[in-house]
Symmetry: D4
Subunit: 254 residues, 8 copies
Amino acid sequence: MNQERLSRLLEEVAAGTLSSEAALEQLRGLPFEDMGFAKIDFHRSLRKGYPETIFCQGKTPEQVAAIALRMAEAGETVLGTRCGPDMFQTVHDTVPRAVYHAAARAFTVMAEEGPLSQRYVAVVCAGTSDIPVAEEAAVTCLAMGVRVERVYDVGVAGIHRLLEQRERISGAVAAVVCAGMEGALPSVVAGLTSSLVIAVPTSVGYGASFNGIAALLGMLNSCATGLTVVNIDNGFGAAVAACTILKLVEQTTG
Amino acid sequence: MNQERLSRLLEEVAAGTLSSEAALEQLRGLPFEDMGFAKIDFHRSLRKGYPETIFCQGKTPEQVAAIALRMAEAGETVLGTRCGPDMFQTVHDTVPRAVYHAAARAFTVMAEEGPLSQRYVAVVCAGTSDIPVAEEAAVTCLAMGVRVERVYDVGVAGIHRLLEQRERISGAVAAVVCAGMEGALPSVVAGLTSSLVIAVPTSVGYGASFNGIAALLGMLNSCATGLTVVNIDNGFGAAVAACTILKLVEQTTG
Amino acid sequence: MNQERLSRLLEEVAAGTLSSEAALEQLRGLPFEDMGFAKIDFHRSLRKGYPETIFCQGKTPEQVAAIALRMAEAGETVLGTRCGPDMFQTVHDTVPRAVYHAAARAFTVMAEEGPLSQRYVAVVCAGTSDIPVAEEAAVTCLAMGVRVERVYDVGVAGIHRLLEQRERISGAVAAVVCAGMEGALPSVVAGLTSSLVIAVPTSVGYGASFNGIAALLGMLNSCATGLTVVNIDNGFGAAVAACTILKLVEQTTG
Amino acid sequence: MNQERLSRLLEEVAAGTLSSEAALEQLRGLPFEDMGFAKIDFHRSLRKGYPETIFCQGKTPEQVAAIALRMAEAGETVLGTRCGPDMFQTVHDTVPRAVYHAAARAFTVMAEEGPLSQRYVAVVCAGTSDIPVAEEAAVTCLAMGVRVERVYDVGVAGIHRLLEQRERISGAVAAVVCAGMEGALPSVVAGLTSSLVIAVPTSVGYGASFNGIAALLGMLNSCATGLTVVNIDNGFGAAVAACTILKLVEQTTG
Amino acid sequence: MNQERLSRLLEEVAAGTLSSEAALEQLRGLPFEDMGFAKIDFHRSLRKGYPETIFCQGKTPEQVAAIALRMAEAGETVLGTRCGPDMFQTVHDTVPRAVYHAAARAFTVMAEEGPLSQRYVAVVCAGTSDIPVAEEAAVTCLAMGVRVERVYDVGVAGIHRLLEQRERISGAVAAVVCAGMEGALPSVVAGLTSSLVIAVPTSVGYGASFNGIAALLGMLNSCATGLTVVNIDNGFGAAVAACTILKLVEQTTG
Amino acid sequence: MNQERLSRLLEEVAAGTLSSEAALEQLRGLPFEDMGFAKIDFHRSLRKGYPETIFCQGKTPEQVAAIALRMAEAGETVLGTRCGPDMFQTVHDTVPRAVYHAAARAFTVMAEEGPLSQRYVAVVCAGTSDIPVAEEAAVTCLAMGVRVERVYDVGVAGIHRLLEQRERISGAVAAVVCAGMEGALPSVVAGLTSSLVIAVPTSVGYGASFNGIAALLGMLNSCATGLTVVNIDNGFGAAVAACTILKLVEQTTG
Amino acid sequence: MNQERLSRLLEEVAAGTLSSEAALEQLRGLPFEDMGFAKIDFHRSLRKGYPETIFCQGKTPEQVAAIALRMAEAGETVLGTRCGPDMFQTVHDTVPRAVYHAAARAFTVMAEEGPLSQRYVAVVCAGTSDIPVAEEAAVTCLAMGVRVERVYDVGVAGIHRLLEQRERISGAVAAVVCAGMEGALPSVVAGLTSSLVIAVPTSVGYGASFNGIAALLGMLNSCATGLTVVNIDNGFGAAVAACTILKLVEQTTG
Amino acid sequence: MNQERLSRLLEEVAAGTLSSEAALEQLRGLPFEDMGFAKIDFHRSLRKGYPETIFCQGKTPEQVAAIALRMAEAGETVLGTRCGPDMFQTVHDTVPRAVYHAAARAFTVMAEEGPLSQRYVAVVCAGTSDIPVAEEAAVTCLAMGVRVERVYDVGVAGIHRLLEQRERISGAVAAVVCAGMEGALPSVVAGLTSSLVIAVPTSVGYGASFNGIAALLGMLNSCATGLTVVNIDNGFGAAVAACTILKLVEQTTG
């Protein structure tokens, strides 16, 4: 029916009974969203440089490898998260350029290795057990062409270690802060820096940590205002948020 | 940019350098979703007879009255759910045609009172405490022009009362079955009828009923296959689902 | 005691002291439910074509194989869900006709392969990780003689892929929509089609997805009215509900 | 810099231009936490323009009024959140300059009304019931000197209303998106804009919405990467995060 | 259809072409459950003496009064639980014979006051806050004609008070033990008596008692084997279970 | 100090300055519980015939075998629950008389095989997946010398199978009813028998069954009054409760 | 029976056929626990100075007043917690000596006002909203004769305020630290003092604070080892624990 | 004291006996956090004897071994908790002095084996399944130089076993009491001793024990005042708390 209406309109234009301006106006008058979702693709192309990401968990190695191959052949940077070493073997057999980041349980296929951003994102974590999540964040930043400063093993129990790293954190555009157990680290970091802190609860802990729920709740209820939170163990998502801010700043300043 | 492209295309049609058929083809070729969400509106207009609904809870009486007035003036049937008697007073002062359904805590402003559907939806509930939810379902059906058979107070504790109503339930296109506590009634009803049972857990109960969670879980885990479930106390949503099926049947059969 | 009463009544009829009409009337007067549950079996036989289903999880391979054999010998179509490849091996050794559907982790033993229904059910899923649940739904439909259109990998992140499949979904009598994580897909699909959407939360996700609870809650609270929900990962149950509607429509229209 | 200051001070002592007592006094006069948490105060003074905030809930009207008075007298901009009209009356009696924002259940005492920022934050909400949370965000932005664009009542059920506002949202440095029920709006908005989306689950809903838990989980599990989340109903915190980004951009670009 | 079959069968008996014995046999051959649910009513009449119960919460005073009147006129003993004093006023106006038990928030209309049972049920509770639940149990027993021994305020903190009552508890056929907070009392009582202990968690407590969940979980996980549990605050249900055992013993022994 | 007091008292008696009656009175006056917990052992010895039970889960095979040996040597009947076949191997090597019950995952070492009780306990379960829990209950009864009637695979989906077993269930002193998923079976059984129903939720199910929580909540909220509940999968505890009632009846009647 | 045995023993002592030493030995040989629970009372009397406590919530004003009167007349110090001002009015009418502590929602009736302990307990809280809980702890200490240092409003957001109070906290035998929201304060305090920190989660907060659950989980998962936790809002319990340690120290050192 | 030091330093600068450069260097050389968190390091050095602890779970064997080696070489006592036998093998290969405590799943590297404390901590547990947690507590005490009395397998079901150990528990400075299931043991122990009871819920149990949640809630809601609680299975933390009290007492008394 929509099509009939369009058809008729075009015929009137062809017949000269409707000016192209009037037709355009009428088209504009069509349910607005006709033009709507088209935009999506345009602004997608704008954010070029964002890697295509494969969440590997729950997929077969063959599926992951096939998707990675297709994307890599299309010239995209590919990032595969939650990818164990066995699964990566299959990926590597299919896409020999793929590089594995064991600590992050992630792999990348870089489209082109341009220079990293001037500004950087700080990736902070409380203990060695939180490193896999922090590394997922760090690798994601790098795959997005963003420089990273890693500040690891600075839990609140030995606060002086954190204080020694204060400068490096404060210099970042945004800080991705990963912590399990009671998840207090992001609150403390937020007190040390004026940039945005993105908190990542990790599933590190036992008993009443409930696989990260305690940390998640702690972060959501933080008395440090301005803290925002992502899903448990979601280093990837936090990194994308941080890089979005960094790119906004770099775009604005040229 | 999209608009420029459209503009150019229309000018070509006007100039005769592009036939209206070719233009139509090109329009079809535009990012597919251009036409996409337009459909929404069309099929919306197709399901005329669906009431515009106001979920009153959390709104001020004035907001509700204003929305109801606007919709009623547009010739729509209006249904207001979760509306207490005090709030309705304000609505009534603004829209005198509005009718209150105390048991359902709902009001309606009917656009036109055509005949009800031939087929009907059965609205079943376990105890007198479940009646507000059941009535919300019943009033919703009526606002959609659908006939309702009410089968109330047929809890599984006195199963013969349910069995006496078996015919009326089986004759329905779909049954909306409301129950609190352990929520076993929908399972039993599903054993008595071949039509679809839509289960509505109610917040009736105490202690470990957790305001309807026990009933919700019971229904989700029902061993009676083919049962589907809506939110706790959501008589409205279940009724819309049931009426959707009824209208599909009536449309198909002319 | 009941039997004595029946006995006496029959003797009176035999003796001619009670007419068969009066006896029938008296029988009717017996506690109503005497006749009650009898209906169950009759309407069961009406819905012939429904497969006998074995929920394999928690049973031994031997138990599953034995049940499948008994049912298959009785001429029933058999559907086994949640059946791993190892377990199926045992089933296959016992019932060589059994066919395995690896993606669905299900097997079927078809009683007779009649033509599929004319109308169809759409089975939609968000990502590749949801496919096992979607396939369980699809295989269930097929085992019930219902035609299926599979619309896979159309998550809301890349909404244009979904829009391209709009026609196929809208053409369905009902849509079974499977999604994990935040479970938003069924809401979006419900905006694109006028037929009933049956939402299946899947356990896909991590962290605060809590094995499908986030998706389940999202679907139960959907602002798209008319959505109904089944248990987490319950592709089978959703398919039975969808087929129930389809068969209702086909029965009604002859 | 701190060290320079120390250096200079010590040199003056060495030079005899400063007595050791006076030097000690000056050292004492430095923010006490000087060598350790020193940065805190400095960066606090850097983020001048940030309001002093009173979370009123759980305090007595007298406590709130006293704190507001003390802060206002110190020349600070004061923001009071979760403040009912009765409580505000007490505040107003004490600080007559205080202004109440009924829809936000907040009050402000502005230190000086300079011009608002050039760039803006978009505050988006799904339904009228979400407005109190959205307004808390908007009032917070204004108290921080940040321009706001309000985009209200654009729930995903009527997606064309959202699409009409696309430009205004995309033009923002960051979008604070408030939604209750299944909380899908932030995911959809994130698909329409390249700036950061900060999601605020609201306690709007009933039954299995569990006072905002469903929305919170939906947002944490969003398939739209880069989304970050704050506590349920925490419009204030989301606004602070958004303004932090905006000020970072404005600072960087001069 | 069933009826046709019955009709034909009776006509054959009337015609003498079928003996009443053969007819009886055929009737027996009908789907077995034909005779099935009839039993329910018989055994219901067997347990005469059981009160008809009205769960008042969630009903209007008028509904409660009307139901109570109908039952009382039918000569039944009536028990109304969860009935506040205001609601009872309406009941009393309608059924002047109704007696209110304030501590139990319950009322009774006794059909006939026969002698109480010889054996008794012990109703035990931990603290004065648990008394309403304990009294609901006690009043229920009395309404069922069962003698009660009340053992109140014997919490485990002052265990000697419990020990002093040891004999009275041990002499009971069954003990209904009500406790909130950590719910340890039933475990201790179970160590003191050889009769069955029915544990009733109460919603007494605060914080992590979660309205009785802590007590409920404590009782379900009791290391005292043989303990069984009912819903939070369900004094009524526990009393019915205890009286069922008592009546079984009294029936068996004549 | 207590001892000093006792010592002095005894010396006074010896010295004749205190009569033995007065001394007894004084002893009685000592904190009552002095005599208190002594009783425990006496009534323990009364319930001879109860097996000594080992909850094997979480113990090493060696620990289980050692405990079993010590008890068996003391002439006790031993019951080991939650014992896998591998663990039993170790037990059997140590106590060759031990008998394994594979379906129950339990073993017994019978002290003496006397005749079973005349009355019996009915052990009922819904599906084949519930059998391990039901068998744990059955084996426990047998270890306690109590006769059992097993009524298995009578889920509410095929209610006629349950009705066919009505007589056997009604004849029991108590019924242990095991069910997973929505846990509706105990409610239905409670409608068919006048004896006490002890409900055992099982962890059978998936998704929103939450390992038996749905069944547990369903049973706690059952509208069938008089139902009592034990922990998830606790067939042992339910059996002990049932046997306690049976032994009470048999003791009373001689 | 036990008594007979005692009786006989005493008679033998009186008769001189048994020495008092031998009798004592035999008494020791009685089931050991005979002497067991006696200890309870003795050590109770040892900890004289502990107040008798009434948890007022859930009791009627009359019950509270009556209990308070009975205890006060027995010369005990009485502490009533969770007592609103209206309830206290009734208490005061009955026990005029009773003193109300409004901020703590508690009252005391002091037996005798001796000097407070030399050492002290620090009661620390994060914000003004936590004061009621902190005051309950402080009043409890005072009722136990223990000196208190209050350190209030030292939340981690303004950490210098806490640091200024470092000395006073470190000087305490134990610190009761109350905090709501994410509950991080006890962890930080534990880093500043070598004495035991007893953490009290408060129900202060909103949204995902879940009435103190977030704070409770944060404290249970604290990376500051040696922290122990009490129930949400349980200032009383924490104070008793702290005073127990203080009294142990004072006892040991004379 | 710190100030004195500063004072002296400044005077030396004024006196010319110290160059300003050297003074600056000295200031730098002070523990950096000097004025702020300075205390931390000082009191750390004060609590010498506390082991450096490695929470091994979630770390690789290599990481654990490397950390252990570094600490051991620094002359510290090292305690590794949650360390399986395989992981220990790697530790042992690296630090041959390391000793494994299999029952505790922990290892220690003792700096110097001085005499244990005179006073002791009682470590109590309910059943053999709780021993791993109890042993973690015991080994922690020993690593801290604190004497331990183990009181195992004294569950409340056989309360006389507990009573027999009464003296040993009462003699302790503090008791660490570990229990799973309903977690009632700490409450009972608290009734037997006047010293502080630190309750450790264990994850022992099944079904509604929810891996220790039931025990945790039971302990948090204990009616035995003065009980404090640590995380599920956190034997280590409870031991540190108990040793903190013991050292406080020993320090005070010299």
